[in-house]
């Protein structure tokens, strides 16, 4: 299941942030991974191996640059809305352009909702959010085959809590490379 990441020339130096390396093919048989921890959580455990490469002076991917718009991996939404806010547009466009240039990279968009409203409606809403982001990526030149979509509705909140600040963090689409 593990794929080695492709390394691209370093754009801006900087320390590594915890990000990603788990490439996912569209329609990848996730069943193989079932039982393991949730794939979005798997990101954390992969960051350390990349860190060693950094110490050895290996060139870094733009994805790993904390100053690059690509470091934004979570897009937030308003209540019962699947529209991408103006504030998030730059980040989404950067990911689209990145995919367009790096044709062998893939990503998964995970759509989520806050706890308000019914679970089934929220599952559909999470998918709508992921699809809005996908459509923007494609506008920037990404190929549909580079993008996988999954919705978890309100089933996997990022934070617990019912205050507006918590709910806001849960209405999101996560970009997972």
């Amino acid at each position: 299941m593990k794929h080695f990441r492709y390394l691209f020339p370093l754009l801006i130096t900087g320390f590594l942030v915890a990000c990603s390396g788990n490439q996912v093919k569209p329609n990848d048989t996730e069943a193989n991974a079932s039982g393991a921890s949730s794939s979005s959580r798997a990101l954390d455990s992969e960051s350390s191996s990349v860190g060693i490469e950094d110490q050895q002076g290996v060139m870094l991917d733009a994805l790993d640059d904390p100053a690059n718009p690509l470091s934004v991996r979570i897009i937030y939404f308003e209540y019962d809305s699947a529209e991408v806010n103006q504030d998030s547009l730059d980040a989404v466009r950067s990911h689209g352009q990145y995919l367009s240039v790096n044709e062998n990279r893939m990503l998964r968009l995970e759509g989520h909702a806050d706890e308000r409203g019914t679970r089934e409606y929220n599952l559909a809403l999470g998918e709508s959010r992921a699809k809005t982001v996908r459509d923007l990526l494609i506008l920037e030149g990404a190929q549909p085959g580079q993008i996988e979509i999954v919705s978890f509705g309100e089933e996997r909140p990022a934070v617990l809590g019912s205050d507006e600040a918590s709910l806001q963090k849960n209405r999101r689409a996560e970009i997972v490379y």
Partner: protein, 428 residues
């Protein structure tokens, strides 16, 4: 996909041992006009079997809200036997019905349970029955007695022998477990029928009560499974690209309405369980989901945001006509139809939180019958008297039941975990 019979795997678990965390029920609001009934053993019977049976029946009748079980202090003086009842004395104490129970052992683990129901207003014995039971089936026998007593006194079939299924979420973080459970209608005797470390949602009983359909994320995406309650066998029936969710059995159990997004936006499809063929029945941009069938199978109620916010719509399966049903409030979703087809319960929000609302389809009257902030997943009892749903209480989620007219509310308290998405079984 029909052939894809899944064996019972590492996350599947048929646990038959009695669970320790029982649900308690408390009634938060009663009915003044409840018919006063005494439920008692005959004076010569102090057996634990009779005590259990009278306790279970008392709780059943009390929880209906329609019967008021009177305390022993209100009984008239004198012995209680099954042959002779001093009607006038009981009536003088304000008691209108008397249920007398006795149990005799007939072998090591076999009992003969007798019960007599007296109508103290009309001075007559209205029921006299004998049932055999072993020690394991005493609760079931008690629920059966509750059913016939309720029918005799209220004129409506009792639903005390039915079951509820629900999802329990236990533990935190990586230890989190999602458990599909089935319990008696009074919350006792919960059994875990499926367990996973990934999310489960939307359980729903087949129309004949032999199977549950539900959504599982065990493969990191939503897929629909059907599980047979007798054998525990599971079958994956839908795993199309995109959403596979919101299963709803047709009245004859041969089809499953469900939500798929394989062709773009989430729409309602009908899956023929024999052939595995799928037919798309709604086609609209935006979200269509949460289908539920009318009793005659001719139409499907569903949630759609085609007007901007979620509302309930009805689709005629013969003509394909879609009409909007809900007009009260900005959020109406997850419709549940009463067994007689007259009432439509739904999750309703008009700015005061998510509550259960009931729309009378005959006269279009609409009433909000709960007062929570995040009440969800309404499901009717098969006799239409009560609606079970999930509600937030002090940071956790518990089950609650409310009479369809909103007058009686009771809560099922679980001692551990969050309990949600109840679905009430049909009659057995």
């Amino acid at each position: 996909m029909r052939s894809l019979l899944l064996s019972i795997g590492f996350i599947v678990c048929m646990m038959m041992q009695p669970a320790f965390a029982l649900l308690e029920i408390e009634i938060s609001q009663g009915v003044e006009s409840a018919l006063p009934i005494a439920v008692t053993a005959i004076s010569s019977d102090s057996s634990p079997q009779t005590r259990l049976i009278t306790q279970v029946i008392s709780a059943d009748l009390h929880h209906s809200g329609l019967l008021g079980v009177v305390e022993r202090e209100r009984y008239p003086d004198g012995l209680i036997n099954k042959k002779q009842v001093e009607y006038q004395q009981w009536r003088n104490n304000g008691i209108e019905a008397l249920l007398v129970v006795s149990t005799q052992p007939i072998s090591a683990d076999q009992f003969r349970v007798e019960f007599f129901l007296y109508d103290l207003v009309r001075n007559k014995r209205s029921l006299a029955h004998t049932v055999n039971s072993n020690s394991q089936s005493l609760r079931r026998v008690a629920h059966k007695i509750s059913d016939v007593v309720f029918k005799s006194l209220i004129g409506m079939r009792g639903a005390f022998s039915t079951r509820i299924a629900y999802i329990t979420e236990m533990g935190m973080g990586k230890e989190k477990q999602y458990i599909l459970r089935v319990a008696d209608a009074d919350g006792h005797n919960p059994r875990s029928v499926f367990m996973s470390n990934k999310q489960l949602m939307s359980p729903v009983w087949s129309s004949n009560g032999s199977k549950l359909a539900y959504v599982s994320f065990e493969n990191e995406r939503s897929e629909i499974f059907i599980q047979d309650m007798a054998s525990g066998k599971r079958e994956k029936v839908s795993s199309a690209p995109g959403l596979n969710s919101a299963p709803a059995w047709s009245p004859n159990d041969q089809q499953l309405a469900l939500t798929l997004s394989q062709d773009g936006d989430p729409n309602i499809y009908i899956l023929d369980l024999q052939s595995g063929k799928k037919r798309q029945v709604t086609s609209h941009y935006g979200i269509d989901t949460e289908p539920t069938w009318s009793a005659d199978g001719d139409s499907i109620y569903f949630t759609s945001n085609r007007s901007g916010s979620p509302q309930i719509y009805r689709l005629s399966l013969s003509g394909g006509k879609v009409e909007r049903i809900s007009f009260n409030g900005r959020y109406n979703a997850a419709a549940a139809l009463s067994p007689n087809g007259e009432l439509l319960a739904m999750v309703h929000n008009n700015g005061q939180g998510y509550r259960i609302g009931v729309l009378n389809l005959r006269n279009d009257s609409f009433h909000v019958i709960t007062d929570g902030g995040l009440d969800e997943a309404p499901s009717f009892a098969p006799n239409g008297s009560m609606i079970i749903f999930s509600t937030r209480r002090s940071g956790s989620t518990i089950l609650s039941a409310v009479s369809a007219d909103g007058r009686v509310q009771q809560q099922f308290r679980l001692q551990a975990g969050k309990v949600r998405e109840p679905t009430w079984s049909p009659f057995r």
